[in-house]
């Protein structure tokens, strides 16, 4: 290899290296990624169904296979087997049957009707963050709600970005009548009282994850659309676009190969803050009771029952601190991303 063949870094790579030096944001980023990845495996980590059990020489995988009655395993309970109890009796009896439970053997859905569960159990070795008003384990619900919150915010933000890039990008790039038409639509749209619209819709139709995403996207697409419109409008008059067109590049290629990579700065720097907005939006709706249908674990719903039982401190403390920590990590990421992308503006603000 020739000596002077130094490695050239694209601007994005440089920014990534800069981001890595901003410890607070970088570690928040790594931690959040790990936690979010783990949260997809929650059924293997936090669950009241056994991972593996061997009963009279036969293997079962209840986590994967689902419902088994207690009778199947010689247990005298109505309905589904209670694996925690099985584990206790089998270990004592030492009869060749064995069972492996998840690390934290409680499910976010099992309430007072399950054997051994009590309402308002304070934090202890078994229930790390106690139980709530229906006897459900707070820690388990907290973790499952984390996954739903982040997923909601990510899907919402990405969907908004896709719509923003396509509609806003076309508005800025093509201009003219197309631009005017969508500008009027956006003006009308943004004058609707959206919170009421959402509340009305979700009191008529029973909301679900995707319906909520859909409703919120209908409200939120405008922000990113305007941002992308401005970006594309500014970039399209630059000479590198004229150069691409003058060599016969198609509009589609010009938009996505040339302009989009140059419009990523606001997209990326805004992303963490959009995620914060998404998380908070879901908490707000859930708190008001217009969000995810019960018994879906959600921070907003936990906050709601917590505040109704304010003397049970753990029921308020848990969702508040989970939200606080998550949001502050995302904000740290956003702050670091912003500094990595635009050190000058950032240091001036500081």
């Amino acid at each position: 290899m020739p000596e002077n063949q130094e490695i050239s870094l694209s601007i994005l790579k440089k920014r990534w290296l800069k981001f890595k030096t901003l410890k607070r944001g970088y570690y928040s980023f790594i931690l959040l990624i790990i936690l979010y990845t783990l949260s997809w495996f929650l059924p293997l980590l936090i669950n009241n169904r056994a991972l593996v059990l061997s009963y009279e020489g036969e293997m079962y995988f209840p986590v994967l296979s689902g419902y088994h009655t207690g009778a199947e395993f010689g247990q005298d309970v109505p309905g589904e087997a209670v694996y925690r109890q099985l584990q206790a009796t089998w270990t004592e009896a030492d009869n060749g049957n064995w069972i492996i439970m998840p690390v934290y053997p409680y499910s976010p859905y099992e309430d007072i009707t399950a054997v051994g569960n009590k309402m308002y159990d304070p934090p202890s070795n078994t229930h790390w963050l106690g139980t709530d008003n229906t006897g459900r384990d707070v820690f388990a619900r907290l973790c499952y709600a984390f996954n739903i919150s982040i997923s909601f915010a990510l899907v919402l933000t990405i969907l908004n970005y896709i719509i923003g890039v396509i509609i806003g990008g076309s508005m800025g790039y093509f201009g003219g009548k197309f631009d005017l038409f969508f500008q009027r639509i956006i003006e009308i749209w943004s004058s609707l009282p959206m919170l009421f619209v959402i509340i009305i819709i979700s009191s008529i139709i029973r909301p679900s994850f995707f319906l909520l995403i859909f409703i919120y996207t209908i409200v939120n697409w405008i922000g990113m659309t305007y941002l992308m419109r401005a970006e594309f409008y500014r970039e399209k008059s630059k000479d590198y676009v004229a150069a691409a067109l003058s060599m016969g590049q198609t509009n589609f290629k010009v938009m996505f190969k040339h302009i989009l990579p140059n419009s990523l700065v606001p997209v990326i720097t805004y992303f963490p803050f959009a995620v914060v907005g998404g998380i908070s939006a879901l908490v707000g709706l859930d708190y008001l009771g217009f969000g995810m249908p019960p018994p879906t674990p959600s921070w907003g719903q936990m906050l709601d029952v917590g505040l109704q039982n304010i003397s049970k401190w753990w029921m308020v403390f848990a969702p508040v601190s989970a939200q606080f920590v998550t949001l502050i990590m995302v904000v740290f990421i956003g702050e670091a991303v912003r500094e990595a992308f635009d050190p000058k503006v950032y240091s001036r603000l500081r």
């Binding site: 020739p2 002077n4 063949q5 050239s8 870094l9 694209s10 601007i11 994005l12 093509f174 201009g175 003219g176 005017l180 399209k236 008059s237 630059k238 000479d239 590198y240 676009v241 004229a242 150069a243 691409a244 067109l245 003058s246 060599m247 016969g248 590049q249 040339h258 990579p261 140059n262």
Partner: protein, 334 residues
């Protein structure tokens, strides 16, 4: 029109409508180019000069048909006929889709070397883009061609993997030149290619462009402010004033014996090292350039013309061949 003609521009006009008010009604028209005629032969260098805002860039961009993307409602009149072999292609009449396959024949070098290279692409990607669009070269052949072109414009082939921000202004402009030459075009429109560069490297880049013109047998439309440079390199000179062409002819003739009063004034302002012309009187024009929004009637230059007459306000002067191959838009000096 000789059989050597590469492009023949007849009565080209470019009007930008100006919209205003609640309903975006058309309130005025910017006549950026207002009916000009000229032609460029093969392997010829035509220099185009004129004050800022007189429509030079607009002519250049009209000639490669890229005005519509910033101004979708622009009105383009007249014809821009290219003679590619036996084919005659009118860029003013065809749609951008139909033009696409001829785009490799006419390229452009831009004024600002910082804006004209995509900052997210490496030099190799920038120069090979026209190759991907217009040739069936393999990746390997493209890489070789890029290296060869970089060598031609005085850069190292190893620099192909770098990004534009790692180059100086002069080096970037060399990349722009390499990109324009990539497909062996017939014509390159050079829109003030050196005016954004340091004076010390302007000459280098111009010399490079002249060498390449010779080697690639390409024609240049060389737009510039600096008349002495244009005189030095051009075969022909076109003088523009407020969207009109004032004078068009052989470089030596236009430079040393200008006929149009505007050309005379423009040339008298050029600092000359030439002692034989030291005693020349400097003509200082009165007043400001009118806006192309509201052009004077008749001859557009009459508000500042030292020899204007009442008749000049009445009709637009004919762009007439007053001597062989020497066109002037002023009946008074004929």
């Amino acid at each position: 029109m000789s059989k050597n003609t590469l492009v023949d521009i007849k009565n080209l006009s470019v009007h930008f409508p100006v919209h205003g008010g609640v309903f975006s009604k058309r309130v005025a028209t910017v006549k950026a180019v207002d009916g000009i005629n000229f032609s460029i032969d093969r392997k010829q260098i035509v220099g185009m000069v004129g004050e800022s805002g007189c429509g030079k860039t607009t002519v250049g961009r009209a000639m490669i048909n890229i005005l519509r993307h910033v101004a979708p409602d622009v009105e383009i009149g007249g014809s821009i006929e290219y003679h590619f072999g036996d084919e005659v292609v009118d860029f003013a009449a065809l749609s951008s889709r139909e033009i696409r396959k001829y785009r490799s024949r006419v390229q452009m070098i831009f004024q600002d070397p910082y804006a004209s290279l995509n900052p997210r692409m490496t030099v190799a990607q920038i120069i090979s883009e026209p190759l991907q669009l217009h040739t069936n070269m393999t990746k390997q052949e493209q890489t070789e061609r890029v290296g060869w072109l970089l060598d031609k414009v005085g850069l190292q082939p190893e620099q192909a993997r770098r990004y534009p921000h790692e180059f100086s202004g002069g080096q970037r402009q060399r990349v722009g030149i390499a990109r324009a030459l990539a497909t062996n075009p017939d014509l390159i429109i050079c829109d003030e290619p050196v005016s954004a560069l340091d004076v010390s490297i302007q000459a280098q880049v111009i010399n490079l462009m002249m060498d390449l013109q010779d080697e690639f047998d390409v024609s240049y439309l060389f737009i510039a402010h600096d008349l002495s440079v244009v005189e030095h390199i051009s075969d022909k000179i076109a003088v523009m004033y407020l969207g009109d062409m004032a004078e068009y002819g052989n470089a030596q003739e236009v430079y040393h014996q200008p006929r149009h009063p505007y050309s005379k004034a423009l040339l008298s302002a050029v600092p000359l090292p030439d002692p034989s012309r030291k005693n020349r009187k400097r003509i200082v024009l009165q007043g400001d350039v009118p806006t192309p929004l509201n052009k004077p009637s008749g001859c557009a230059f009459r508000t500042r013309c030292p020899i204007a007459q009442p008749a000049c306000a009445e009709s637009k002067p004919e762009f007439k061949e007053q001597a062989k191959d020497h066109f002037v838009a002023c009946p008074i000096v004929e």
